[in-house]
Symmetry: C2
C-alpha cells in the first residue's frame, strides 16, 4: 500500500501531509523548524522526529519541495530552467540517502532570466503543478502571494516564465521598521475600503516611494484612523504590484496562498476587472502527488549527498 509523505519545507516553517495512493490527504502536520532553524547536519534528526512514524508505514516514500532543496537546505537540488513542466522538474528530482532504508527525494526549484537578471522559485512550482491538476487549467496566469510573490505564466502545462515581487517583504519592512510603524497598527484586521483606497492611490503615477509617505501624513493630519492605515499601505503595495503586470488580456488569475493574502489579491484584481480562482495548501499536496510518479526514476538516478 503506497503512502506519500509530502513535505513543503520552507525558510521559516514547514508543512507535511500523509497522502494515500490517490493523493488523498490522510493527515497533516506543521512545524516552526524552517530551514533557517535547523542546525548544521540536523536535517535527518528533525525529519525523523517529525515524520519518522509516517515513513515506517508500509511502502512509504517521501517527496520534499521548497527551500530544503536550496544551498542553505538539506541537499541542494539545482534549479530547473524555464520553460518547465512537471516532466522537466520530475526528471531533476534528487534522492536523499541520509537515512538508511528511507526513500526520500527532493524537488528542484525553477529559474528564469530577464535581461541578464535571474529569477528563482522553490516550492511554488509544485503548487502550480498541483493547481493545474486540481483546476484542469494548463494555460494562464498563476499568482502566489507570500513574502516574495511569484507571477507565473503557464502555457500548455509548463511554466513558460515568471517574475518575483518582494511585496510581502516590503510590507513587513514598512509596517514594522519604517517611520510608518510609529502611527500604524500592523495587527489591525483588513479594512476593505481603506485597502481599495490604497489600490486606487497607487495608480496616480507618482510611485510607491512617494505614495508610501502618504500613510505617514494621513496619520499626522488625522485624516485616517490608525487601524485603517495598515490596510491602506497594503493596498498601495499590492496596487503597485498589479500596475506592473500585463493584465489586459487576462480573464482569470489562479491565486495560490493563504486566505489572508489571497483575499487581498482577489479584491485588488477584481477592482482591475480580473476574476480569480483561489487555492490553498491542497495545491501543494496535489503537486507533490503528481510528481511522485518520478520517484522510481529518482531512485535509479539517485545521488549521495
Amino acid at each position: 500500500m503506497t503512502r506519500l509523505v509530502a513535505i513543503d519545507w520552507g525558510t521559516s516553517s514547514l508543512r507535511g501531509a500523509l497522502l494515500d495512493a490517490d493523493g488523498k490527504v490522510i493527515e497533516e502536520r506543521s512545524d516552526a523548524r524552517g530551514i533557517l532553524k535547523v542546525p548544521e547536519g540536523g536535517f535527518p534528526a528533525v525529519f525523523e522526529a517529525l515524520f519518522g512514524d509516517w515513513m515506517r508505514l508500509e511502502g512509504a516514500q517521501c517527496l520534499i519541495s521548497g527551500m530544503a532543496g536550496s544551498k542553505q537546505g538539506w541537499v541542494e537540488a539545482p534549479y530547473c530552467a524555464c520553460p518547465a513542466g512537471h516532466v522537466e522538474v520530475g526528471r531533476k528530482i534528487i534522492r536523499i540517502d541520509a537515512i538508511p532504508g528511507a526513500r526520500i527525494a527532493i524537488v528542484p526549484g525553477l529559474s528564469d532570466e530577464h535581461d541578464g537578471v535571474p529569477d528563482v522559485m522553490r516550492g511554488e512550482e509544485v503548487q502550480i503543478f498541483g493547481a493545474m491538476a486540481l483546476t484542469g487549467a494548463s494555460d494562464g496566469l498563476f499568482v502566489l502571494p507570500g513574502t516574495h510573490n511569484k507571477w507565473a505564466t503557464v502555457r500548455k502545462g509548463r511554466v513558460a516564465g515568471f517574475r518575483t515581487c518582494m511585496t510581502g517583504e516590503f510590507y513587513a519592512l514598512l509596517s514594522q521598521h519604517s517611520i510608518l510603524a510609529r502611527t500604524l497598527d500592523a495587527t489591525a484586521p483588513l479594512d476593505e475600503a481603506a485597502f481599495l483606497q490604497g489600490v486606487t492611490q497607487s495608480e496616480n503615477g507618482h510611485g510607491l516611494l512617494h505614495n508610501a509617505f502618504g500613510a505617514r501624513t494621513l496619520a499626522l493630519f488625522e485624516r485616517m484612523p490608525k487601524e485603517e492605515l495598515s490596510s491602506y499601505l497594503s493596498g498601495l503595495l499590492i496596487g503597485e504590484e498589479l500596475r506592473t503586470q500585463s493584465l489586459q488580456a487576462v480573464g482569470e488569475v489562479v491565486l495560490i496562498g493563504s486566505p489572508v493574502l489571497t483575499e487581498r489579491y482577489t479584491l485588488a484584481l477584481r477592482a482591475a476587472g480580473v476574476a480569480t480562482r483561489t487555492l490553498g495548501a491542497e495545491a501543494t499536496w496535489a503537486g507533490l502527488h503528481a510528481l511522485s510518479g518520478f520517484l522510481a526514476a529518482a531512485d535509479s538516478n539517485g545521488i549521495q549527498p
Copy 2:
C-alpha cells in the same frame, strides 16, 4: 553688532552656525542630539550647552529650522501651506520664550496636498530659500535628497508645491533589514557603473517590487560582486524615483544635500539628460540669514509656549 545663531535641528542630529550681519559663517558646530534624543523638557538645557556662548555675544539672536518645530520638537510651529515664499514663512516664525533674555525663534515647515493626501517638509524650505538667494534662481525644480527626499517646484521665488519620496529610508530598510542584506555590503563605496546599471534596470517597466529582487538573485548566481550590489540597489531606487517625476521640460535641477547623495542624483539625472547644480550646508545658513529679517516681527507676535 548683530550675530545670528542659525540652527538646523533635525530628527537624528543638529547643525549650528554663527553668522555675522552679512550672513557670513564665523563658526560651525554639529551634535548628535537630534530631537528624538532630547529628553522631555530638555531642549533649553541642550540649547544652552551647545549654543549658550554664542547667545551671550552682543546682539545675538537665534533662528531654528527643522524638526525642532514639530509636535515632537521644542515648540510646535504650525505648517505654512504652499504656495509659500520666505515672506509667508517669515510671518509664521514663532518666538520661543523658554530661556529668559535669549531671543530664539523657530521657522515653520511647509505643507502641501495632492488628491486629499497631505505632504510636509521641515527644514528643507529654509534650504530652498537659501539656494534661491545663493543661485539667484527664482523658478525651477529643487531636489533635496535625504531619508525623505523633497522634490519642490519653485515659481517666482515661492515653493509652488512639493512631493516627498521615501527613497533614503527604503534604501536603509532594504540594505540593512531585508533578504538583500544577506548578500550585500551596505558600507561599500559608490560603484558608478553598477549604480547606473541599476538606474537603467529601473526603467524596464517591471517596478521596484520586482527589480529589487534582482539584487538578491544577481548575488545568488554570482553575476555581480558583493561590493557592487549596494550601488546597484541605490541605482534601482533613485532610478525609480526619477521615473515618477516630470523631467521632460526641466533643463537644470538644483540639488541640495550631502555630497554622498547629491553625487548619485547628479549621475542619475545626467543619465536622464538633466543638468544639476549642487549646494550643501551653505544653503541652510543662507536661508536662515534671509529669514532673520522677520525676527523683529516675530518678537512682537511672539507666543509663549
